[in-house]
Structures are given as structure tokens and as C-alpha cells.
């Protein structure tokens, strides 16, 4: 479990992409224990899954463009939204920012050479890929893709003929991978900070990863056991949730959401961390309320574990439980709002440069606010009874997860791309993709919320005539959004080959990753950095 670092004293300073190892070609990537390469591996794989699942989303929208069965049957639609949800949740957004940028930048931002357990880190990626392969394999086995929705609720997930057991096992493995990443990050942050890097000098991205890692460790085993029990029930007939064997399906929902609500903070906290990096850089001001932002992450991690019942308001929970969970859910909006206020205060009187990363971050805060407010609406009992299981909910969680986290992940990609690859992308194209994404996004998910409010239920492949116009609008929005995504990502792929050389500090950032070369050397710094001041300490010379 220890790492062997082999240093050649007088070596040419080469960056991590040039370093040759025992392995050649692709093997130099998939067997590398360098945290930077592993970060890139995660980035490439999760973005690929993103495009695949977004394409599935486009197909679902195409089915809804017309009434009746045109493109696919109800059965296929069920399997597609399950696959879409499973990929987006378990393969994209949960590993998401921590496994990609976290892997790449956490060690650099605290001035370390690597994570605490580099080999375990590689194992995490392998488990991730194995999980992904297993999930896809269900397609080719008898029973085909699961059709339960990403939540795998019993009793349907036990009764259906589709291939749930393998898909659930895949999710179990992915959970294990997530736990190992969390464990690795916690140990790294505790043990490997550079001299002078005290807790209150850590960048806020690191704080966010720290809080996230705790949730990963504390919550994930809960869903692990829940998923295992589904497998037990399907394969070994050990009914734990089966009423005919004395079980109670509601208990499944409890255990599932005891994990899955905290999991939404696994999804969103790292995104908050990225926002807290990008805003000071482009406002050229130190962050306002550093400690409040740092500790609000921790308090979200803490209180986030107490609100799971808000997913079960209509599952027969007692009124008292409902009221308590509703109240706690309102309460948890407070630390999130604290962050938003602090970001706004940072912008105030800052000299704002609306570079592409900043543009995407600011619009993401806007989208996430809509997601947050509609979340509060659903925390209100009478409203939730009305909108539960409608497109309102679908609109809401796309605003939070996509508008919040994935949008920020793309902003982070624009922010750190020059550092990771040493190339600068075409900024004009990055600007050009924005209106497509922003307008498309709001048209698609705005229309969804609107029709959900009017009663359009989720997870149906067809709709009634009164919803038809709304569905057409939503589908057109999905095209714009999709074009925007392709423009944005395509631009970066082109930049890999044709981009101009990026300087070491193109944005004038103050945190440690900007003090080393682009791309960084194998061990991140030529000399071990010594930290003398807080993270967002802007100097004149750094003006990029």
C-alpha cells in the first residue's frame, strides 16, 4: 500500500504525457498508476458514456415527438430510460467530477506527487470499467436490458423477466469503485499535503472533495447491501423484501434512499467545488466567505443523510415522518444557499472576465437555482403529492444534475483543459456552443416541467393529445441541446490535435496547479512546493 517513487535526480523535465513506461500505446494508459493519467482515463470514459446516454435521451424524445407508437414500443422505451438513467447516474455523474478532475487536480492542488494509494486508484478505474461492461452485457443476454428504471424498486425488480441481477451487480461494483476513490482521497488529504498547506489553505475544490469522500464512504455501503439483497432475492430466492415471505418492500425504498439522497450530494458537492475555483479566478478576487463555503460542504454532507424520507412522501410514510422529512429538506437548502450568496458576493466589485469557463459556470448557477427552487417546491408536502412521478420531477432533476453538476463539469473541462493537455481550444467555438446549450436546455426541461405541472406522468412512452404541443417543443429543445454538446466536445477533440500551445497559467489562476507547467511533469512539480498563503491569493504577475 505504500508507493514507490523513483526519482532520477538529473533528468530532463518532461511532462507526464511524454514519460515512457514499461507499457506502450494504450497500455501505457490503462496500466498507469499516475493519478493524472487515471484522471484522463476517467474523463474520456465518462464523457463517452455521457454522449451515448444523451443519444439515448434524443431517441426517447423522438418517440415523444408523435403520438402513439412510432419509433419504439413501450417495452423498449422502458429499457431505454432505465439505461439512460443508469449510465447517467452510475457511470457519469457519481464518478463524475471526483474521479476525473479530482484525480487529476487533488494531488496537485495540495502539492502532492500522487494520491495515497496509486495502485488502488488504478483498481478503482478497472472496477469502473468492469461495472460498465457488465451493465452493457445485459443487452446481449436473455432478458436483455433491465426495465425497472434506475431505482430498481422492488417488487418489480424481483418479478421482471429482464436482466436485473447482472445490472444490479454492475451497480454494486461501481459502488465499490466509488468507495475506493473516496477512501483514497481522504487518506491523501490527511497525509500528503505539502509543507505549509494547512487545512485552511486548501483550495475549496479540495474541501468539496473531502466532504464528498466522506459521503462516498458512509453512504455507498448502504446501497451496496440493498443491491446485494435484490440479487439474493432474484438468484437465491432469499426474500427479504417479498411480502409473501414476510418482507416489506417499503424497507427497500428506505435503504435505497438512505444512500441515494446523500448520493445527490456526491453528485453536486464536487461541482460546487469547481465553481468555487472558477469564480475567484475570473473575478480576480479572493473568494468571499472561504470558511463558510468549506464548512457548508461538511454540513451538507452531515445533514444530507437525514432527509431521505422526502422521496417517499406518497409511499405510505406516516404524517409525522413526512412533516419531519419535509422540514429537514427545507433546512438543507440553507448551506447550499450560503454558497450561492458567497459566490455572488465574490463577484461583487470583482473585475470579471467572461472567459468560456466563467460563462458556463455563471449560467450553471442560474440553472441550478431553478433546480433548487423546484426542489423546495417538492419538499412541500401538498405540492409533492400533486407533482410526484410527473415530468415536473424529471425537469427538476435535470436542472439540478445536468444544469448543476454536468454543466459545471463542462465548465471545469474548459477551465482545466489547457493544463491537462497543454493545448488551448478555440474559444470562439466554445462561445458558439453556449447559446445552443443554454436555449436548448431551457426549452427541453422547461417544457418538461410545464407539462409535468399539468399532469404529464413520467416513464410513459406515449402521451395524451393535450400534452402534444409541449412534447414537440421539448423535442426541438433536445436537438438544440444535443448540437450544443457536440459542438462543445467536438471543439475540444479538435484542440487535442490542432490546438495552440497553452501557457502555464492561461487564466491567471492562483492555486497550485497553475504554478507548474502545462502539462505538469510526472511528479507534478519540479520542486516540492511550500505554501505560504491562502489559496486565492492573486498576484500581478499571474495576469494571464
Amino acid at each position: 500500500m505504500a508507493s514507490h517513487a523513483i526519482t532520477e535526480v538529473q533528468h530532463l523535465e518532461e511532462n507526464y504525457l511524454q514519460v515512457k513506461s514499461r507499457w506502450r500505446g494504450i497500455f501505457a494508459w490503462i496500466f498507469s498508476t499516475d493519478h493524472k493519467r487515471i484522471g484522463i482515463l476517467y474523463l474520456v470514459s465518462s464523457l463517452t458514456f455521457f454522449v451515448v446516454a444523451a443519444t439515448i435521451g434524443i431517441f426517447m424524445r423522438l418517440e415523444q415527438l408523435t403520438m402513439g407508437e412510432t419509433l419504439m414500443s413501450a417495452d423498449v422505451y422502458n429499457r431505454l430510460f432505465t439505461l439512460h438513467g443508469v449510465i447517467m447516474i452510475f457511470l457519469l455523474i457519481i464518478p463524475g467530477i471526483p474521479a476525473t478532475f479530482g484525480n487529476f487536480f487533488l494531488p496537485i492542488q495540495i502539492g502532492a506527487k500522487d494520491v495515497a494509494f496509486p495502485r488502488l486508484n488504478l483498481l478503482s478505474w478497472w472496477l469502473y470499467i468492469i461495472g460498465a461492461v457488465l451493465a452493457v452485457t445485459t443487452l446481449f443476454l436473455p432478458g436483455s436490458l433491465p426495465d425497472t428504471g434506475w431505482t430498481f424498486y422492488v417488487p418489480y425488480s424481483v418479478r421482471t423477466g429482464s436482466n436485473v441481477a447482472l445490472a444490479v451487480f454492475a451497480a454494486f461494483i461501481l459502488g465499490f469503485s466509488s468507495i475506493l476513490t473516496g477512501l483514497n482521497f481522504l487518506t491523501t488529504i490527511h497525509r500528503l499535503r505539502a509543507p505549509g498547506m494547512s487545512w485552511h489553505r486548501m483550495p475549496l475544490f479540495v474541501w468539496a472533495l473531502y466532504a464528498t469522500a466522506w459521503i462516498q464512504i458512509l453512504a455507498t455501503p448502504m446501497v451496496g447491501i440493498t443491491l446485494l439483497l435484490i440479487i439474493f432475492e432474484r438468484v437465491l430466492n432469499i426474500g427479504i423484501f417479498d411480502p409473501t415471505q414476510g418482507g416489506d418492500p417499503i424497507l427497500f425504498q428506505h435503504l435505497f434512499w438512505i444512500y441515494s439522497h446523500p448520493a445527490v450530494y456526491i453528485m453536486v458537492l464536487p461541482g460546487f467545488g469547481v465553481v468555487s475555483e472558477i469564480i475567484p479566478t475570473f473575478a480576480r478576487r479572493t473568494i468571499f466567505g472561504y470558511k463558510l463555503i468549506a464548512y457548508s460542504s461538511l454540513s451538507i454532507a452531515l445533514f444530507g443523510s437525514l432527509v431521505w424520507g422526502h422521496h417517499m412522501f406518497v409511499s405510505g410514510e406516516s404524517d409525522i415522518a413526512n412533516i419531519i422529512f419535509s422540514f429537514l429538506t427545507f433546512f438543507i437548502a440553507v448551506p447550499t444557499a450560503i454558497k450561492v450568496f458567497n459566490w455572488t458576493a465574490t463577484l461583487y466589485k470583482g473585475s470579471i472576465a467572461l472567459e468560456p469557463p466563467m460563462l458556463y459556470v455563471l449560467s450553471s448557477i442560474f440553472l441550478f437555482a431553478i433546480g433548487g427552487f423546484t426542489g423546495l417546491m417538492q419538499a412541500t408536502l401538498p405540492i409533492d403529492v400533486h407533482v410526484h412521478d410527473t415530468y415536473f420531477v424529471v425537469g427538476h432533476f435535470h436542472y439540478t444534475m445536468f444544469g448543476g453538476t454536468i454543466w459545471v463539469m463542462l465548465a471545469g473541462l474548459l477551465y482545466w483543459f489547457p493544463k491537462m493537455t497543454g493545448r488551448m481550444y478555440n474559444k470562439k467555438m466554445a462561445y458558439l456552443a453556449w447559446p445552443f446549450m443554454f436555449i436548448g436546455f431551457n426549452v427541453l426541461y422547461g417544457a418538461m416541467m410545464y407539462m409535468g405541472w399539468k399532469g404529464m406522468p413520467r416513464r410513459y412512452y406515449d402521451h395524451l393529445p393535450e400534452f402534444h404541443t409541449d412534447h414537440v417543443i421539448a423535442t426541438v429543445g433536445s436537438w438544440l441541446l444535443y448540437i450544443g454538446i457536440l459542438l462543445l466536445l467536438g471543439n475540444l477533440v479538435v484542440a487535442l490535435y490542432k490546438g495552440t500551445r497553452a501557457p502555464d497559467n492561461p487564466w491567471g489562476g492562483a492555486t497550485l496547479e497553475w504554478q507548474t507547467t502545462s502539462p505538469p511533469p510526472l511528479e507534478n512539480f519540479t520542486e516540492e512546493p511550500v505554501v505560504k498563503h491562502e489559496p486565492y491569493h492573486f498576484r500581478k504577475e499571474d495576469n494571464g
Partner: protein
């Protein structure tokens, strides 16, 4: 001109980090079982009488035996760590071997216990079981799920202990491989090993034909040297083993002793 390229092999080992990592992992294991214990608690509240009745059917003798076996194994693994720390490798290996043996005894016992139950037709989904009342059915389902999951942990723990047994038995030999991709820098130079002021060996001049230079250094601890890397591994495995033990300490009364 003669220039000397120094080649240093720096080793970074963070034992505190390894221990912290292990504790974090143990927390995840505890939570995994907490999920099961929560389910147990809910169902026991609901079907208190049936749980009483069903638990009468478990074999308390085998259960007690297994408890003693696991407790003893926790002791032997702790002693084994202590022995390795005091540099008596042989004793440590004996104690570790005993631990592995006790783990095996536990599993064999479990095999016979389950076997007898299955023989009597009591297993998940069996006709015999399904005729009973719901509380008893869920009791036995939980019994199989929880002791099964625990048994799996015993098996994994056994595997880990065996792996470490081999490591200690083999002595820890560490190998470092240094690759130098920049052969062109080395062209014209010679590679030699220098120990103190004595030169160990020397290889031929590196010329244009050499494509790659690879240096492998192997360390072997002298006898009598404290084997730190293995101690930390054994300690971590010991922690895991104690966890397996503790979980059983809860399982045993909850299933065998509630009537």
C-alpha cells in the same frame, strides 16, 4: 569529460496512511452490515414471537463453538502481530497459521450447520419453509443472508491472511525497476555501481546501438531486521479479522440466543 549521473531510489512509505485507509475501509464494512442489522431490527419488532420460536431450531452448541473458535482466532492473530514486531518470524508464522486453521474450522462448522438445516428442508424458498408463518420465513431468510454474508467475509479474511502468510514466509524482497527512456543522454557513458568507495560492477560503454537501459535493484532484508512493511500489512489484516469477529459477536446472540 566525466560527468556523473546520480540515480537515487527514493522510497516513500506512509504507514500511518495505510492504517488510516484500513480504518476507513472497516467503516464501510460496518455500514454494510448496519443495513442488515436495521432490517433485522425492523422485522424482529414486527414478528417478535415468530423469531423466538424459529431461533429454537438453531443449534446453540455449534453456534457457541464457532464463537469460541473466532474469539480464539482473534487472539492468535493479535499474538502473531506481536511476535512479528518482536522479530520472531517463526512464532508469528505459527500463530498466523493457527488463525487460518481456526477460520477454516469455522467455515467447516458452518457448512455442517447449514447442511443439516437444508437437509431438514429449511432453506429459502423451500416448500417446508413456505408453509410456516411469515415471521419464521423471514427469520430464516435473514439467517441465511446475514450468516452467509458473514461467512463470505470469513472466506475473504482467510484469503488475505494466507497471502500475508506467504509474504512473511518468503521474507520481503523489494524490487525497483528504473527505466531510462532517454538513452541518448547516456550514450558514451558507463554504468557502474559504487558502494562506499568500492566499485561493484561496471557495464560496457553505452553506444548508439543500445536502445534501452533498465536497472533493477533488489533489496533483501538481513536476518534480524524488523520487517516493517509486512508488520503493517499483518496489522491491517488483523484489524479486518477483528471486524469479522465482532460482527459474529453480534450475529450469534441475535440469532441463537433470543429464545
Amino acid at each position: 569529460m566525466k560527468s556523473i549521473h546520480a540515480l537515487t531510489v527514493a522510497e516513500h512509505r506512509d504507514f500511518e496512511g495505510a492504517r488510516l485507509g484500513m480504518w476507513l475501509f472497516l467503516i464501510t464494512e460496518l455500514i454494510l452490515f448496519t443495513g442488515m442489522f436495521l432490517l433485522y431490527a425492523m422485522y424482529r419488532l414486527k414478528y417478535a414471537a415468530a423469531f423466538h420460536k424459529a431461533s429454537l431450531e438453531l443449534d446453540v452448541v455449534i453456534g457457541t463453538m464457532n464463537t469460541l473458535v473466532l474469539l480464539t482466532s482473534s487472539l492468535t492473530v493479535a499474538l502473531s502481530i506481536e511476535a512479528l514486531k518482536r522479530n520472531s518470524r517463526k512464532l508469528s508464522l505459527w500463530l498466523l497459521g493457527a488463525t487460518i486453521f481456526l477460520a477454516l474450522v469455522f467455515l467447516v462448522n458452518k457448512y455442517f450447520e447449514w447442511g443439516a438445516k437444508i437437509h431438514h428442508g429449511i432453506y429459502p424458498g423451500s416448500q417446508e419453509l413456505m408453509q410456516r408463518n411469515l415471521g419464521e420465513v423471514i427469520y430464516f431468510n435473514l439467517y441465511y443472508a446475514m450468516t452467509g454474508l458473514h461467512g463470505l467475509h470469513v472466506l475473504v479474511g482467510m484469503g488475505v491472511l494466507t497471502w500475508i502468510f506467504v509474504l512473511i514466509a518468503r521474507k520481503s524482497r523489494k524490487k525497483y525497476v528504473v527505466h531510462n527512456p532517454h538513452v541518448e543522454q547516456l550514450v558514451g557513458s558507463e554504468i557502474a555501481i559504487v558502494k562506499g568507495d568500492k566499485e561493484g560492477w561496471r557495464v560496457d560503454k553505452i553506444d548508439d546501438n543500445v536502445e534501452q537501459v533498465e536497472i533493477t535493484i533488489t533489496y533483501e532484508p538481513k536476518s534480524g531486521e524488523v520487517d516493517l512493511p509486512n508488520i503493517i500489512k499483518l496489522e491491517n489484516a488483523g484489524l479486518y479479522w477483528h471486524l469479522v469477529d465482532i460482527i459474529w459477536i453480534f450475529l450469534f446472540p441475535l440469532f441463537y440466543l433470543i429464545s
